[in-house]
Symmetry: C2
């Protein structure tokens, strides 16, 4: 069972698009996948056409009201299940901040589900606040979706520092498993420069760095308007445009994840 | 004197790029502009090559330590001044949350500067937390940078609701002055659809809506890789690629802002 969080505090780099389409890609090859929407924007839920209303339990109820996670699941397809979000999750950051165990609430809530799924994928908001810390404490692997732009590269240090801190205090098995280059515009000098910078940075990691052994995935996700269109139909890229570059790239990324030997 | 905040809790829609290049455009035409970086990512500061170190006062010192804003300014060019940010601003959200006047701290800090500038432009983080509420309380106008994508459109309702609430409780003169379509990919059906949706939504506003009278700016900002390259040189688009589409579009947007009759 692998637990993977999509994290990057830089906004708009492809976290949600990667979480949804990688989860769908893994499910298409037969893995049982739980996709957790931990963003108050609820974009993962919207992307799949799920509207977590006030009457149906979602991630807010699980984190704040103690609802069992198993009672808040929605089956999207044969192998893909979602724990949906709702805009009321915005209140969770301040409501959880008073609790002594605030960083471990998500991990405890998901533990009873560990034997029901092969993958748990978590989409995070664009911040390093309490919700993202919960994701870092609840998973074993972090994938960093990264748009190959200068501004997006700047935040990497802060993210790795935060992951190291969580590994040291809350979750010793945490590691950065990979960086996924998203919205890649082939042929631009900028993408090539950032790509090189990131690979050099990763290659120079020392054994006690949380990103030691991380990879830049071979599959880059090309910019492709179909990836921005499919959420408006409540569909993954595979159902909306199965022969598009987007489907090819996310299929490749899911395949690459499956072929990685999972953490010991 | 006009005070304008660039706000959109959706990440990566062009807030920073619009704040920096509109501020620079206005300064090029002779306006005295203060650009405030209210994002802990400090991307506006980085975009202009400013590194707010621990020894030099920035927005964190102004908000949390009571440093006078006038003592934390940096002149970038003849007419453009910046109040820079630093990653320690991340702590401000929780440090301010205990203070009774927490939403009005920025407004009070900027008031002594009102007569020194023709425009105050504020760049905000991708959230509707305490920092963005401070910006809503401190300005008269909000510009919403919007990427014409489905997911980006979803958050508009929540943003308008928040702005209405701030107008009702803290800042009666607040209004949405416009929506700036950014990263526009001409020729895609999606951009056209979102463009139409937004214009229809705005047109159907009633007089007591905070977005009543708002416009979708005539100038759309086209996707242009030069806009993503210039931050790595610490330059605005005008200094980096003066004949690019990016310079033409942001020059046009700044011109359009100047030609709007300012609020009474
Ligand atoms: N490869 C791609 N090509 C074209 N558009 C893309 C691609 N990946 C994502 N998008 C679109 O770009 C926008 C940003 O992507 P997305 O919302 O997945 O990023 P995010 O990191 O989750 O954003 P946030 O920080 O707000 O959570 C969305 O409108 C999405 O549809
Ligand atoms: N019109 C454009 N064409 C191409 N790239 C752009 C354009 N506008 C912005 N960018 C690039 O897209 C990325 C996102 O833009 P930007 O950082 O300004 O958005 P933001 O809303 O401020 O993001 P955040 O939510 O993280 O604060 C940046 O790397 C920026 O350089
Ligand atoms: Mg997202
Ligand atoms: Mg920004």
């Amino acid at each position: 069972m692998r637990r993977i969080a999509m994290i990057n505090q830089k906004g708009g780099v492809g976290k949600t698009t990667t979480a949804v389409n990688v989860a769908a890609g893994l499910a298409r090859w037969g893995s049982r996948v739980l996709l957790v929407d931990l963003d108050p924007q609820a974009h993962t839920s919207m992307h799949l056409g799920i509207e977590a209303g006030p009457d149906e339990p979602g991630i807010y109820d699980v984190l704040v009201n103690g609802t069992a996670a198993g009672d808040a699941l929605r089956e999207v397809s044969d192998k893909l299940t979602v724990l949906a979000s709702h805009v009321d999750l915005v209140a969770a950051e301040s409501e959880l901040s008073q609790r002594p165990d605030r960083e471990l609430i998500l991990r405890r809530a998901l533990e009873p589900l560990f034997d029901r799924f092969d993958f748990i994928i978590i989409d995070c908001p664009p911040s390093l606040g309490t919700l993202t810390i919960n994701a870092l404490a609840a998973t074993e692997e972090v994938i960093i979706p990264l748009q190959p732009h200068f501004l997006a590269l700047q935040g990497l240090g802060m993210l790795l520092k935060t992951a190291s801190a969580v590994r040291g205090v809350l979750n010793p098995s945490l590691r950065i498993s990979g960086i996924a280059l998203c919205m890649y515009e082939k042929g631009t000098r900028l993408a090539q420069e950032v790509d090189n910078d990131v690979r050099q940075f990763i290659a120079s990691a020392s054994p006690d760095d949380v990103w030691y052994g991380a990879r830049v995935f071979d599959t880059t996700i090309r910019r492709n308007i179909k990836l921005a269109e499919c959420p408006s139909f409540g569909l993954t890229i595979f159902d909306y445009a199965p022969s598009s570059n987007g489907a090819e790239d996310y299929g490749g990324l899911a395949r690459e994840l499956l072929e990685m030997t999972s953490p010991a």
